[in-house]
């Protein structure tokens, strides 16, 4: 599978998916840089991997469970809320989501 170079529109579409707003200069730079990086990793396309499965996890652990009980992590809600940009009534305040 030979990939084409990333166009300006491709970059803008990716930026939208990633919730990034790029300047015109960034769009231009990224289309060149990302194309070069993607071309580099394209060497993987020609590797013979017949009979092999993907690796997701390397140290052999499977489904690590904990007891389904209450855990005290040692900090209070207000300590977590201290880092929140905007709060109201001990809740995180965000802009309206649905019209």
């Amino acid at each position: 599978m030979q990939m084409a170079d990333l166009t300006r529109d491709d970059v803008l579409k990716l930026a939208q998916l990633a919730r990034l707003q790029l300047t015109d200069q960034e769009v231009q730079e990224f289309s060149g840089e990302l194309t070069a990086i993607l071309h580099y990793v394209e060497q993987l396309q020609n590797v013979d991997v017949s009979g092999l499965k993907p690796t997701n996890q390397v140290n052999g652990l499977i489904n690590v469970m904990r007891e389904d009980t209450e855990v005290d992590y040692g900090y209070a809600p207000h300590e977590l809320l201290n880092n929140v940009p905007k709060t109201q009534d001990n809740q995180i305040e965000v802009k309206r989501m649905v019209g």
Partner: protein
């Protein structure tokens, strides 16, 4: 003096923790021009020193250390050297810090890094570039460049780093420090800012293998807060071991063309030392190794794009005030808060995970990863350890790779495979290159969960190399 001896002096009351902390804080001030440190924890460190001096105990009693600024630590901001986390105050501490403190160690400062640990030089820090302790025109390597520089500038006896694709070993190599990347899962990552979760590990940067082993011994083990952690071996502290009879494989692909002559000469010297000591040296080829970087630069950005999606400007970190709606608030906060390399990796990761490209890039990379792991497993059937340089070059000049991200990525070509396989590796100093008088790093690897054997072997070789 070793860290163990220093702690013993504190326990015996011969040395005061308070004096050690003051010495560290003063050294940080005196060496400020190297930009190794983002913030000092003066008050917290002094308070802890006073407590230690009242009741000096623990295997690291009174020993100051410096944490890479992607560790959550009480007493200062945790920024991961990024603008988007400026002002973030940790509500809890990383498990590694908790364990070190439980043995009496004292965190005195947070070290600079490439923002979110994305980089090989610290030039991607959103704040400033750390300079190499041996030559201020050179980079210290990255991403744990501040930690490596801090150790070699004597700002503290040890520092913590994180290693996702080489970020402990590369700066250790460039600065002449010891840098240990443990087996994946051996040290809890709870409370460390996530980069690429399938390869992230944390470990120590020190002046000697003995010190690195002691710090690992304190930090290693299962943690309910990190479900990827594995059972530890009983004891990681270094025991004397003969080099004679050890089967060491020299990695053909890492000794190929492209090594700087001065680097090759130092690695060859180390190999000769092993031969002289009676180690059994053979060449070993892992044909998929040169593809490791391509695998890494698919999987790592994919995981980065996922892990960095939590920085949305709503719950913590930087938020853009004037956005008209929620979507605009996400976009503006992330666009202003993230630096260029974070954006670049988020974009690549988004691409390789997007519909239509997932199988061709992400899944294919995961399968080639399996191929690489199989080659490592085969190599460790025949060899106790594998050996090669940590990097093909010594430290490069500040700015040398600034305009070419792909060239910067290539710096990691000899370190990433270890992360993909989850095996332990260590970079130890192998003298200086005759090309530029800069430090050369020797990389040693072992099979998964053979960290103890690796440390004993590295310590024995380190002793011989210093003779």
């Amino acid at each position: 003096m070793s860290i163990a001896d220093l702690a013993a002096e504190v326990r015996a009351g011969k040395t005061k923790a308070a004096d050690l902390v003051e010495k560290s804080l003063q050294a940080i001030k005196d060496k400020a021009e190297y930009n190794a440190i983002i913030v000092t924890l003066d008050d917290a460190a002094r308070a802890r020193a006073a407590a230690v001096d009242k009741d000096p105990k623990g295997r690291l009693a009174g020993v100051p250390f410096i944490a890479k600024d992607n560790f959550l630590v009480f007493g200062a901001e945790t920024t991961a050297a990024s603008n988007i986390l400026k002002g973030f105050t940790a509500p809890y501490q990383s498990t590694a810090i908790e364990k070190l403190e439980a043995e009496g160690a004292i965190c005195v400062a947070k070290a600079n890094l490439d923002a979110f640990a994305h980089g090989s030089s610290t030039e991607n820090s959103d704040f400033f570039t750390t300079l190499n302790p041996h030559d201020k025109t050179k980079v210290p390597g990255g991403s744990s460049g501040g930690s490596a520089a801090a150790v070699m500038l004597d700002l503290a006896p040890f520092a913590l780093g994180s290693d996702t694709g080489g970020s402990i070993r590369l700066p250790a190599s460039f600065c002449g420090a010891v840098g240990l990347k443990p087996t994946y899962g051996l040290v809890s990552r709870s409370g460390v800012v996530a980069m690429a979760s399938s390869t992230d590990v944390i470990g120590p940067l020190t002046r000697t293998v003995e010190d690195a082993a002691l710090v690992l011994d304190v930090m290693a083990g299962q943690d309910p807060l990190d479900s990827t952690t594995i059972e530890r071996q009983e004891d990681y502290t270094v025991q004397p071991t003969p080099l004679k009879g050890k089967k060491v494989g020299i990695i053909t692909e890492y000794m190929a063309d492209g090594l700087q002559p001065g680097v090759r000469a130092q690695i060859d010297k180390a190999i000769q030392t092993l031969k002289d000591q009676g180690a059994e040296i053979t060449e070993v080829s892992l044909p998929t190794l040169p593809l490791g970087l391509a695998v890494y630069y698919v999987l790592c950005p994919a995981e980065v794009s996922s892990n960095l999606s939590r920085y949305d400007g709503q719950r913590y970190g930087f938020t853009s005030g004037g956005a008209k709606d929620l979507d605009a608030s996400f976009k503006e906060s992330r666009s202003i808060g993230f630096g260029k390399e974070a954006k670049r990796r988020i974009m690549i990761g988004t691409y390789v995970l997007s519909s239509g490209y997932y199988d061709a890039y992400y899944k294919k990379a995961q399968i080639v990863r399996t191929k690489l792991i199989n080659e490592f497993k085969a190599a460790f059937k025949e060899h106790d350890f594998l050996l090669g340089p940590t990097c093909a070059t010594t430290a490069f000049a500040v700015g040398a790779n600034a305009d070419d991200p792909l060239q910067m990525y290539l710096t990691d070509i000899m370190t990433v495979a270890v992360n993909l396989a989850g095996i332990p590796a260590i970079s130890i100093p192998a003298g200086v290159s005759s090309d530029d008088q800069m430090p050369v790093g020797l990389q040693l690897m072992a099979a998964q969960k053979h960290d103890k054997e690796l440390l004993d072997f590295a310590a024995a070789l380190e002793t011989e190399l210093q003779k």
